[in-house]
């Protein structure tokens, strides 16, 4: 190799390396460029910019604050007179006749004083008048005169007051005051989930745990513990009993659906597997059936089955069962096509009958795949069951969707979300544990 040769070949090596890098750069930029272009198209198609404007931060705030706090309503009927007190404004949370929260004082003849703390104070005055001391702002006075609202506010009113001649809403950090011709209402907010343990009508309301567990009998009619458990269980506001049933129903749907599907799919998978099914047409037909039931999602099956079985967990379970038998059928038949012929032949050579050949030559081989898939689906079906329940009417999914759709009681929404997350995580670790137990961890 002469000197010139070497330089020449080095030169060509350099040029080809340059070309190589040019190509690499182009691909390196093309992929992100395509992605960015696609995302830009989506941003326009989905109107993401407009969405950012429309996004209701107010709703987000209501959601966020309501999910960890509750409000107590103090409501005066402006037509008939009389004031009522109710937690979340609900009948179940209403204070009994003649009782009222400790932060309300005075009387209706002179002035009913509602203490909102931090210097905020609302007074219900006679003749449908109201005064609200807002620290750093002054006192807002308002009165209903001949069906219209007269206030001491002058334009422009601050944006936390929403005023017309028939209605006024004052929203501050301490609470909210609403006044219309029919009602004057004050909300005071408290952190926590109201009446989570006991409703107001339960004698155990506002008692400490030790008091209930160790103290004297609170309700003379029954022992503390059983009484408390029963009052908690039958809590009319949070309905712990229904929630527990709902979670049970959800898991039940997943359980019945998954295992039912597995039991149904196993024999059918033999029909669809080339090794075991001599009839091509039958095999082809079976595979298309698998594809079909799998392609139609469980949700659609739910709708289809609703006519025959009506609302309830069974319908959801059947929907999961139908879809998953398609999925399992596919997975199992693929596993069956990959079984090791040697073992089957070994069993066959002893004169074993066909069923025995399957039992000993085939089943032991596919059991690990089968179990791990089934358990994996059990977990993911718990999630599906939540969604299906929201459609068929069953389980925790329904409670959640209805709680969200009726858009009040966000603390219930967050409670359900929390329960769902815990439920799915528990099912996840349970199925992982069982998988480890049954087929040995990680191969």
């Amino acid at each position: 190799m002469t000197m010139t040769d070497a330089t020449a070949s080095l030169g060509s090596a350099k040029t080809s390396a340059d070309a190589l890098f040019q190509r690499k750069r182009i691909t390196a930029f093309a992929v992100p460029a395509i992605i960015v272009a696609y995302l830009a198209y989506i941003a326009i198609a989905f109107d993401v910019a407009g969405l950012a404007q429309r996004a209701s931060t107010e709703n987000a705030v209501i959601l966020a604050s309501d999910s960890w706090s509750y409000k107590t309503h103090v409501t005066r009927d402006n037509r008939r007179g009389g004031t009522t007190y109710a937690i979340e404004g609900e009948r179940k949370g209403a204070y009994a006749e003649g009782t009222r929260p400790a932060w309300v004082s005075g009387d209706e003849e002179t002035a009913l004083v509602i203490d909102l703390e931090d210097g905020h104070e609302v007074r219900f005055l006679p003749d449908n008048a109201v005064a609200y001391d807002v620290p750093g702002f002054g006192t807002i006075e308002a009165q209903l005169v001949d069906g219209s609202l007269i206030t001491n506010l002058s334009d422009p009113v601050p944006d936390w007051i929403n005023l017309s001649d028939q209605r006024m809403t004052v929203t501050t950090d301490a609470g909210r005051l609403t006044m219309t011709r029919t009602r004057t209402e004050v909300f005071r907010y408290f952190p926590g989930w109201e009446l989570f343990w006991f409703t107001l009508d339960s004698p155990y309301h506002n008692r400490s745990f030790t008091e209930i567990a160790l103290g004297d009998r609170i309700d003379p009619g029954r022992p503390n513990i059983s009484g408390a458990v029963s009052d908690f269980w039958n809590n009319g506001m949070w309905r712990h009993k229904d929630v527990a049933w709902a979670i049970g129903e959800t898991i039940l749907m997943a359980f019945l659906g998954t295992f039912g599907a597995a039991m149904l799919a196993l024999p059918l998978a033999f029909v669809a597997a080339k090794r075991f099914s001599p009839f091509g047409a039958l095999r082809f037909g079976m595979r298309r059936i698998f594809d079909f039931v799998r392609g139609v999602d469980a949700l659609i099956w739910t709708v289809v089955l609703a006519r025959a079985f009506g609302p309830g967990p069974l319908t959801g379970a059947l929907a999961i069962l139908i879809t998953d038998s398609g999925t399992f059928g596919k997975i199992f038949s693929e596993a069956l096509e990959n079984v090791d012929e040697k073992q089957i032949e070994g069993v066959a050579s002893t004169g074993a009958k066909p069923l025995q050949r399957y039992r000993f030559g085939v089943i032991p081989q596919i059991v690990p795949i089968l179990l791990s898939q089934v358990l994996y689906f059990l977990e993911s079906n718990t999630r599906s069951a939540t969604i299906i329940g929201a459609i068929t009417g069953g389980g925790i999914g329904l409670m959640l969707t209805q709680a969200i759709q009726t858009q009040k009681d966000w603390e219930e929404v967050s409670y359900y979300i929390l329960l769902i997350v815990i439920m799915v995580m528990v099912m996840d670790s349970f199925s992982g544990w069982l998988r480890g137990k049954l087929i040995g961890r990680k191969d």
């Binding site: 992605i35 696609y38 995302l39 989506i42 198609a45 989905f46 109107d47 969405l51 429309r54 996004a55 209701s56 709703n59 987000a60 959601l63 129903e249 039940l252 749907m253 359980f255 019945l256 295992f259 039912g260 594809d291 079909f292 392609g295 139609v296 999602d297 949700l299 659609i300 709708v303 289809v304 089955l305 006519r307 025959a308 079985f309 009506g310 309830g312 967990p313 069974l314 319908t315 379970a317 059947l318 999630r383 939540t386 969604i387 929201a390 459609i391 069953g394 999914g397 959640l400 969707t401 969200i404 759709q405 858009q407 929404v413 979300i417 769902i420 997350v421 799915v424 995580m425 996840d428």
Partner: protein, 290 residues
Amino acid sequence: MTDATLSGPTRREVDRIQDSYMAQVRRRRMYGGLTLAIFVLLMVSGFMVADGRNAGGFWDGWRQMLDFPADVLSEAWEKRANLPGLLLKYFPALMETINIAAVSTLIGAMVGLILSLLSTRGLARWPRLIPVFRRLMDILRAVPEIVIALVLIFILGGGPVPAMIAIALHTAGALGKLYSEVAENADLKPVEGLASTGANWTQRMWLGVLPQVAPNFLSYTLLRFEINIRASAILGFVGAGGIGFELRNAMAWGPGRFDEAAAIFVLLFGTIVFFDQISSRYRNKLTEGQ
């Protein structure tokens, strides 16, 4: 192996093995029987509970199982002339569904990728935070899409974006976990080689890890895309736009619009099968080609 097999000590040895094996068999039969019994009990009682809490019972209902599909099909057949027009009409909604799935898979995969690298032993940027990122992925995975979607619909209003975000979050968790299982098995030698030149974390991951794991990652991502098409169709059912929403409206109206329902169904089903086939073919190639 002599003819002394039947002599005293060996005989006793065989007896011992026979006894202990019989004991093992009995134990196994008992556990097996017990497991089977518990399973059967759970299935049967579970079925009875579900049957009892359902409005219609199983034994009455299954005969009517085909009533509803028959209604839909007969009407769709009567109005079959409308079908091509309806397919065209709902095609944009289908595109929206596919787009939701595609974007959320894309975003979810990118987030999942970062999360997985951050939570894989040997690769993590901050090894101490591995449990934090793992937990984060668990939670993302555990929250059903529908929950996030419903909450976001409340804040953002209906439409595709809440569904997209919901699915993307779930995808990030699910793919993150699968990715990190793959990354765990990645060869660390190239990474160390890069580290020795003074490469920073991003460079080490991009140049040392990604080329190794890309085929597997891609295959999982395709599988997820397939799943996400269904998910996005389902979220339509609760008001998140796309073909699912149209399907629900048509189904809910009932007789009179079953031709629309059938058309949408055909679109949806066709799409799912189409992507299913494409992705499984391509995935096989990817994982075989290694």
